[in-house]
């Protein structure tokens, strides 16, 4: 078997703080194949975003304490700066959450896309004066080409009137256009892997659906592997092939989207699904789960969800938690799994949710989630 | 450098200065005005740790006496600035309308103009004396307090407890005195601490130019100015007061910086606008 596009093994990314070491990512393993969209879902603080950043090695101020991140078999955790630059410029691109913040406000959008094109085109050295646009030191023809390519890319991403827009500044555009521009920057390097960290969270629902749709066509056209990070199960269900559920820096459950979302075997996944059907906001969801999120200082034994879990046993607090295979590629990290025959209400709920999604694939999942449910008529207690 | 250690250094310097200003003059072995023409411009020695000046007076003694003067002047000027500025700020913020408009125009003009030059002109017209310098520095320096207090008042007057007091039918004076002043005071105190260094520099600068304390008053700036004619043969005459002025201002700046860091974000944002 050949190497997968991305293979992360036992990744530990930590942050040193005044009160101790924060184990943001605590032994995560995952793979992404070419042409596959893998989702990571979890609440804020679950370590999903830090996992994403670690791949591009922009985890600063955190640091990778252990584990490997292999891209086409090449380990990135000990790569040199120039190797990393090559990889960022050629193989992996990243899209961050808020396009209002991720585009540089003082440069035109076209300039920022063209810059990414130039980085991809030039092997080796990037000259400061060339990039600073100092007249005599700037390679005019190369930049003109890069600008042309930038306009093309913007056009491919359905930015209307791209030639005109490329000279505009980020603040002049709507969130949707900005995020398309960010995608254009990401695709300028013709990457094999796209890491998208909450790419649609800051956008309205219509734009969100358009962008997610775009991601799927990109995957089809380019054999692009995509790692999509979201707190929104609807987004994941709508877009991904496989899903990884994270909590407290660890993977709780992973598997094909249909399996995980129809037959969730981890108590946390169930809680998450139950909450999302209540149609609450991302931030509220955290409080909607009973109990406190895990101690961020972490790094201790046992299951991080034990404190809030209603299936908790004394064994959950200590030692290694077993990984249980409960379907093809469907794994659960829980000593009580599989939870086949309790919580009938949740079963029923998720079944209706999923069947709706299956029968009407074009219908965004969020629509189903939006059905009115009285806040207290069900739950995880 | 950890910031808490800087705070300690700043507080230590300020405390030491206060001690010097209080006890220094009584402890000093010489009379600050006592001339001894036989021993003029003597280099630092065991007898005169910081040497003697062009009239044979002990430099250390004069500096110690000057500490009381400098700190006293700085405290007085800052206090006048603070009181005037606070009153104007309260008035502008609470009255609103054209009163606010007019006062803030004045504040803008004062803030836009180079303060020392304005103070120089005012003090110059009033005539050279320490009191006139103090007056001039007070006149040019209250504007930043007024703006700070005004912005505090504007943000506070919409807060519930002020509205509640007004609805309860409290008088304006009551609302201002009991609710607005106590809440606006913390950033003002920080500003004052940061301002003291500037006042000391300003007083010394104007005195140096000859507008402030007149010889033989042992004012630091005046002492520095009279040392300028003896740069070659008596370098300690300008450097002793120079070092002392710098240390003093440094101490107050350190203290002010750490106090500002201790303020709440909104309060320091108001300070930052100045």
């Amino acid at each position: 078997m050949t190497d997968p596009l991305l293979r992360i093994e036992d990744l530990h990314t930590q942050f040193g703080t005044d009160s101790g070491t924060v184990h943001a990512v605590d032994g995560v393993s995952l793979t992404v194949e070419r042409g596959e969209i893998v989702g990571i879902v979890g609440e804020s603080g679950s370590g999903k975003s830090v996992t994403a950043r670690s791949i591009l090695r922009v985890e600063d101020p955190g640091r990778i304490a252990a584990g490997t991140i292999a891209l086409d078999g090449v380990d990135l955790t000990d790569a040199t700066d120039s190797t990393l630059r090559r990889i960022r410029g050629d193989s992996v691109s990243m899209v961050f959450q808020d396009p209002a913040e991720t585009l540089n406000p003082v440069f035109s959008v076209g300039e920022q896309v063209a810059e990414a094109v130039r980085i991809h085109d030039t092997d080796g050295s990037q000259r400061l004066l060339d990039y600073l646009n100092v007249p005599l030191f700037r390679n005019r023809s190369a930049w003109t080409d890069a600008h042309e390519r930038a306009v093309e890319l913007m056009d491919q991403l359905d930015i209307p009137n791209p030639e005109h827009r490329s000279s505009g500044y980020p603040h002049e555009f709507s969130g949707g256009i900005r995020q398309r521009a960010v995608l254009a920057i990401a695709l300028a390097s013709d990457p094999d892997l796209l890491v998208a960290d909450e790419p649609t969270t800051a956008l309205d629902t219509t734009t969100q659906a358009e962008i997610l749709d775009r991601l799927r066509t990109l995957r089809d056209e380019r054999e692009l592997g995509i790692l999509l990070i979201s707190h929104d199960i609807g987004v994941i269900a709508q877009t991904c092939d496989r899903v990884i559920v994270m909590y407290g820096g660890k993977v709780m459950e992973s598997g094909p989207v249909t399996d995980v979302l129809t037959t969730p075997e981890h108590p946390y996944t169930r809680a998450l699904l139950a909450c999302s059907t209540r149609n609450v906001d991302a931030d509220e969801r955290v409080t909607a789960l009973e109990g406190r999120p895990p101690d961020p200082l972490g790094g201790h034994d046992g299951c991080p969800f034990a404190e809030r879990c209603d299936h908790v046993t004394p064994a959950c607090h200590n030692g290694d938690v077993p990984t249980i295979e409960c379907g093809e590629n469907h794994r659960v990290v829980c000593s009580e799994a599989p939870l086949s025959d309790d919580s009938a209400k949740i079963e029923r709920k998720t079944e209706t949710t999923m069947s709706a999604a299956e029968t009407q694939p074009s219908e965004p999942h969020t629509e189903v989630n939006r059905e009115k449910v009285a806040p207290n008529d069900e739950g995880t207690r | 450098m950890p910031s808490n250690r800087l705070t300690q250094v700043g507080a230590g310097i300020v405390l030491a200065l206060l001690v010097i200003a209080t006890f220094g003059p009584t402890l000093s072995p010489y009379d600050p005005a006592e001339q001894d023409l036989q021993h003029r411009l003597e280099a630092p020695s065991a007898e005169h740790p910081l040497g003697t000046d062009q009239l044979g007076r002990d430099v250390l003694t004069r500096l110690l006496h000057g500490a009381r003067l400098s700190l006293g002047v700085a405290a007085a000027v800052t206090a006048v600035r603070l009181v005037v500025g606070t009153l104007v700020g309260l008035l502008a913020g609470y009255a609103g309308g054209w009163v606010d408009e007019a006062l803030m125009r004045l504040v803008d003009t004062l803030l836009a103009f180079p303060g020392i030059i304005l103070a120089l002109v005012i003090a110059g017209i009033l005539g050279p004396s320490l009191v006139n310098v103090m007056l001039a520095l007070a006149v040019v320096g209250w504007a930043s307090y007024a703006r700070l207090v005004r912005s505090s008042v504007l943000s506070l007057r919409e807060r519930e407890f002020v509205t509640a007091a007004r609805l309860l039918g409290r008088s304006r004076t009551h609302v201002v005195a009991r609710h607005l002043v106590p809440n606006a005071i913390a950033p003002v105190v920080v500003l004052a601490t940061l301002d003291i260094g500037g006042v000391i520099l300003g007083t010394a600068g104007l005195s140096f130019l000859g507008l402030g304390a007149q010889p033989p008053t042992p004012e630091w700036g005046t002492m520095l100015a009279s040392g300028r004619n003896h740069l070659r043969e008596a370098w300690w005459l300008v450097n002793a007061p120079g070092v002392l002025i710098m240390l003093t201002v440094f101490g107050f700046n350190l203290l002010g910086d750490s106090l500002r860091d201790a303020l709440s974000p909104t309060q320091s944002a108001q300070l930052g606008e100045l």
Binding site: E101, V106 | F113
Partner: protein
């Protein structure tokens, strides 16, 4: 802006009238070396200088001249105030520009190094240095430089004006104080910029760290820095007065100080007004630069 200018002119002109005592008498006393002038002499002086007219008339007459570039006549010298200012202005401008250059040359690199390596030795050194610089009275620093560089080492002339050698020490004196303020600001602005999300975008494009810092971060940090550098003109002018006196440079500052001691009010008024005008104009220029540096400003201006 016009309001501020008018306010400055009123302030500078009116100040002399609100001061206690009769200006004519004070001036004559001073001119005569302390003797009390005869009432006739006072009358004559008042008539000659138009001091008998009401304030409004005098002010209007003065302003009428001002808009034509006529700031009046010195009480002592035969020269007009404008001529004296024109003669001295180049020296002050030279000093101001040179010290700005010194300040920027010190502060921008120091601030960047400090921000790029936070909590390093270099950072602490820069922070400590700028605190000391802010606390340093520039008249003392001037003397210190004179003692070391001129008297001990003999590299630069002690005082006066002329070639570049006369400019070095004054510019260093004035520039280093300013550098202290600007360093702190560059550091904060750079830290803010480096913390922004667009820096991560730039990094994840595969851009070299140098380009990330000097293109993406610095360009954003420049926006507030340029404003403050412009507003530091206040500091330059304040400081120029003292520094010119320390180094006995014939400039606006020495002109003003001399005029104040001589009670040559037309010069005091003229110089003060000029400084006010320089001020307002600089603020305006800073505003324009600011707009050029930050494309967002125009939009804000439209909506606000």
């Amino acid at each position: 802006m016009a309001v501020v200018l008018l306010g400055v002119s009123l302030l500078t002109y009116g100040m002399i009238f609100v001061t206690p005592g009769d200006p004519a008498r004070t001036i004559l006393t001073q001119q005569m070396g302390g003797q009390t002038p005869t009432p006739a002499a006072v009358e004559q002086f008042r008539a000659a200088n138009g001091l008998d007219d009401p304030f409004v008339v005098q002010y209007a007459r003065w302003m009428g001249g001002v808009v034509q570039g006529d700031l009046g006549q010195s009480y002592y010298s035969d020269q007009s105030v404008s001529a004296m200012i024109v003669q001295r202005l180049p020296n002050t401008i030279e000093l101001a520009v040179a010290s700005m250059l010194v300040a920027v040359a010190i502060a921008v690199p120091a601030g960047i190094v400090s921000a790029v390596n936070p909590e390093s030795r270099a950072d602490y050194a820069a922070q400590f240095g700028s605190l000391v610089g802010v606390s340093m009275p520039n008249f003392w620093l001037g003397f210190l430089l004179i003692i070391v560089c001129s008297l001990w080492l003999g590299i630069f002339p002690v005082a006066g004006a002329g070639g570049v050698e006369y400019l070095v020490l004054p510019a260093l004196t004035l520039g280093s104080g300013m550098a202290a303020v600007i360093t702190r600001l560059v550091r904060t602005a750079m830290l803010d910029a480096l913390d922004a999300a667009y820096i991560q975008t730039a990094q994840s494009k595969g851009l070299r760290e140098r380009i990330v810092v000097y293109k993406h971060a610095l360009r954003n940090a420049l926006v507030p820095v340029v404003t403050i550098i412009g507003l530091q003109l206040s500091y330059v002018l304040n400081g120029a007065v003292v520094v010119e006196v320390v180094f006995q440079r014939p400039g606006l500052g020495t002109l003003l100080v001399d005029a104040i001691f001589a009670r040559d009010y037309p010069i005091v008024q003229g110089v003060t007004l000029l400084i006010g005008v320089i001020f307002v104009v600089t603020n305006f220029a800073v505003d324009l630069t600011y707009r050029r540096l930050d494309p967002r400003i125009d939009l804000k201006g439209d909506t606000a």
